[in-house]
Amino acid sequence: MLDYTTLKLVWWLLVGVLLVGFAIMDGHDMGVGTLLPFVGKDDTERRVVINTVGPHWDGNQVWFITGGGALFAAWPLVYATAFSGFYWAMLAVLWALFFRPVGFDYRSKIDNPAWRKTWDWGLFIGGAVPPLIFGVAFGNLFQGVPFTFDDHLVSTYSGSFWALLNPFALLCGLVSTAMITFHGAIYLAHRTQGEIQWRALRAAGFFGGLLLLAFAAAGAWLWMAIPGYVIRSAVDTAAQPDPLAKTVVREAGAWFANYRRYPATMALPVLGFAGVIAAQALARSGRTMAAFWASSGAIVGVIGTAGAALFPFIMPSSLDPNASLTVWDSVSSRMTLNIMLWATLIFMPLIIIYTSWAYRVMGGKVTAAYVRENSHSAY
């Protein structure tokens, strides 16, 4: 069994992998959902758009479900404190996601324009709202979240939903939404042709540009105006987790400390920018599959940038900085982390194998002819 410190670090990376996996896999079908009402001009076109992700959205959504489960198992205190604190934000995500299974599966079952239009906007909400809220949540992590613990580690959250929607957090929401929509547009360009592909490429141009601007702006804002958190006391990384056992202070520029200490981490923001630019160039030259990998790289870069800046913090407390949750003190026991590591090592490769197979089986361009021929079975 790995030692406790290593396991804690490995799980920080694995939660990152799950988050990135979610953004790449569920992200592209959320992006497609967001673009649906705009790139599909009539019902057949919209069905083409929907059917590019039709066989896959369900499997992809499990990244989200499993992410929730893994957070529960590996970082129970984060799972508990974040989701109960961000109560209404979390419900908004869940309720937006409700539109997806029914939107995908029920839309084509009745041939009525009003019915279908309703589900188009349902899929739009299910695609656009979750990334927006996740971005906003990340923005709030950087600013600290107003929660405290009592003696028995009962958490109390003293903020409101509306306080989450502050300007910096909204900017982070924009980064996230632009990133997911961009990624969806690239995927759509890969799976369609003609008019729809052309519109998808235009959307990729717009959202890619927006992402570059918003990502840079968020970095600058963080640099200039958002003080970071620093642990001042000595940390025993192998200790049994107790989030109340440390001293934490706020300090200007502290969110950039990891970049100064480990310059190699600068590769992450660089990957974020380079991925977007490369994806756009590749997509325009018709190499859409490579473009998809490049925009996936951009996602790794953008999320990695935020994760590396926050490390070792996961969720700092603005009310009681000492109670901030970190990778050292809000984790599960060594035994549970170890079991979960094995479960992940065994099943993650299998998941990747059968998911790739599913994409290969269903691969190729989705066309209007396909939708017409399979009118009773396609979405």
Partner: protein
């Protein structure tokens, strides 16, 4: 102290979202195997009828599955949003099966379902059958891990409390996995799902036969459903949850409550067929007893005693008194982890910590404790008897009715004359809601019967909630119920529309009510 209202609303929201979810899950669990059976026959015989059966019942399966997924999303996250202290306190154990469920089962099920619907023309027959089978395996493994998590709530094995981290921690993963309670639950619950799937196909096929349309299609479907349903309903009853009721104290308490057994009787105990339980005086005002039966089904033996409610409560009172020591020692240790005297006292009373925590519902400062408060907490340790007694009986009655129906359906499908028996077809049609009712009351018995605990003997329900405002709870509860109800109406509408249209909705040109392109 946590407000009663907050606890009640949190419970109500969880119950509502879980019961909605459970309207869809059993059908998915059961129907997926019927699809495997139908498609296997197709692959073996090559008859297109069986492919059409797989596709048509698959279509209805998909309509149901969509809402199963929708309502399931909530449950993965609701522990965090509404049961934050629970999540912290037992996440180390409870989170693991949920995460493994995602990794091992739900990914498989959800990836394969896409290929099931869209892969007909792109996969060979055998490949497609493999996809369907993997989807079924995923679905059932999913139920297994969820019920391992749920079984641990009833019988929390393989874990220990740590005062440093202020939570339960895993000590033996395999004990959690092979928890006898979880295994009994798994068999019982998936079998109940199989019955639901079989009833669904049986009822709708009967309706086609009554209308005299799509006869060949309906007859084949009826036959498969009758056989599968009969085997499953036997499994639900024989391998029923009852076998699990001798395991662990939670189940003993539940058993005593659902049987309205106030006194410990000499073995083998008698069974109360009907009773009017009197909660205040702890007796039955009226009861029709059948001697021996309770002892036999409850313990599968003639000489093992089943403890009655009074005995259980008296034991629990002692544990509450011991638990007071555990809680005060824990408070001392939280102030100073090196307090050797407190540690010694804590170790001695640790097993009763949860029982001490029951008192927190009434007092936050234990210096204000009185014997009357301890008595109140003692009475809390057994759930109210009447709801348990009657919902259990309703479940059993439904189970027996379905046994009879599937028995007759199988008998006449072996004889081959069921299509000419309108009374049987009508009985099958009107029995459609039965498995759902049985599943929902069964779930109620399991969960209400565990009160006042979320984790039996470890964590009381009223301490498990998130510290949210009552207004938030009213808002979210209204939102969930409203949202789900609209979705349920839409689902029922589509389900009825396609069930009415029948296999003609496939557009193959072989059936009545053909769909037009």
């Amino acid at each position: 102290m946590v407000s009663e209202q907050l606890v009640d609303l949190s419970r109500l929201q969880f119950a509502a979202t879980a019961l909605y979810h459970f309207l869809f899950v059993p059908l998915t669990i059961g129907m997926v195997w019927m699809l495997v059976i139908m498609e296997s026959v197709y692959v073996m015989t090559g008859k297109p009828l069986y492919k059409d059966m797989t596709r048509f019942w698959g279509k209805l399966f998909g309509i149901n599955f969509a809402l199963g997924v929708t309502t399931g999303i909530t449950l993965e996250f609701q522990f965090g949003t509404n049961w934050a202290y629970y999540s912290h306190y037992v996440g180390d154990i409870f989170g693991a099966p949920l995460a493994i469920e995602g990794l091992m089962a739900f990914f498989l099920e959800s990836t394969m379902i896409g290929l099931f619907f869209f892969g007909w023309d792109r996969l060979s027959r055998t490949q497609h059958l493999m996809v369907t089978t993997l989807m079924a395996v995923g679905t059932n493994l999913s139920a297994l891990w969820i019920l391992i998590a749920n079984g641990w709530m009833q019988n929390p094995v393989g874990a220990e409390f740590s005062y440093v981290t202020m939570r339960m921690e895993m000590t033996d993963f395999w004990a959690v996995v092979f928890n006898p309670d979880a295994q009994a639950k798994f068999v019982h619950t998936v079998s109940a799902g199989y019955v639901t799937g079989a009833m669904f196909v049986l009822s709708i096929s009967s309706w086609y036969l009554l209308k005299g349309r799509d006869v060949e299609f309906a007859k084949r479907s009826f036959g498969i459903a009758a056989a599968f349903g009969f085997a499953s309903v036997c499994s639900v009853i024989v391998l029923g949850d009852e076998s699990g009721y001798t395991v662990g104290e939670a189940q003993q308490t539940k058993l005593a409550a659902m049987e309205a057994m106030w006194e410990t009787e000499p073995a083998p105990a008698s069974f109360n067929l009907v009773a009017i339980p009197n909660e205040a005086e702890m007796k039955n005002d009226f009861a029709i007893e059948i001697p021996w039966v309770m002892g036999l089904i409850g313990t599968r033996s003639l000489d093992k005693q089943i403890p009655g409610i009074k005995e259980i409560k008296a034991k629990n009172r002692e544990r509450i008194v011991s638990g007071i020591e555990a809680v005060t020692a824990l408070d001392a240790l939280r102030r100073n982890q090196n307090d050797a005297a407190a540690r010694l006292k804590f170790e001695a009373h640790k097993a009763d910590l949860g029982f001490g925590l029951l008192l927190k519902k009434y007092v936050s400062d234990f210096r204000q404790l009185t014997p009357a408060i301890i008595d109140k907490a003692m009475h809390d340790t057994v759930p109210r008897v009447a709801p348990m007694f009657w919902s259990f009986r309703l479940m059993v009655a439904l189970g027996l009715a379905m046994l009879m129906l599937f028995g007759l359906a199988l008998w006449h499908s072996i004889k081959g004359d069921f299509a000419d028996k309108p009374w049987l077809l009508r009985a099958a049609l009107y029995s459609l809601p039965m498995p759902w009712m049985a599943c929902e009351v069964g779930w109620f018995v399991a969960e209400y019967g565990r009160q006042p605990w979320t984790i039996y003997g470890v964590l009381p329900t009223h301490l498990s909630v998130s510290t949210l405002s009552v207004e938030s709870l009213y808002g979210s509860l209204a939102g969930f119920v409203g949202f789900y109800t609209v979705l349920l109406i839409v689902e029922m509408f589509l389900m009825i529309k396609f069930a009415r249209q029948g296999p003609g909705s496939l557009g193959t040109g072989r059936y009545a009510n053909e769909a037009h392109a």
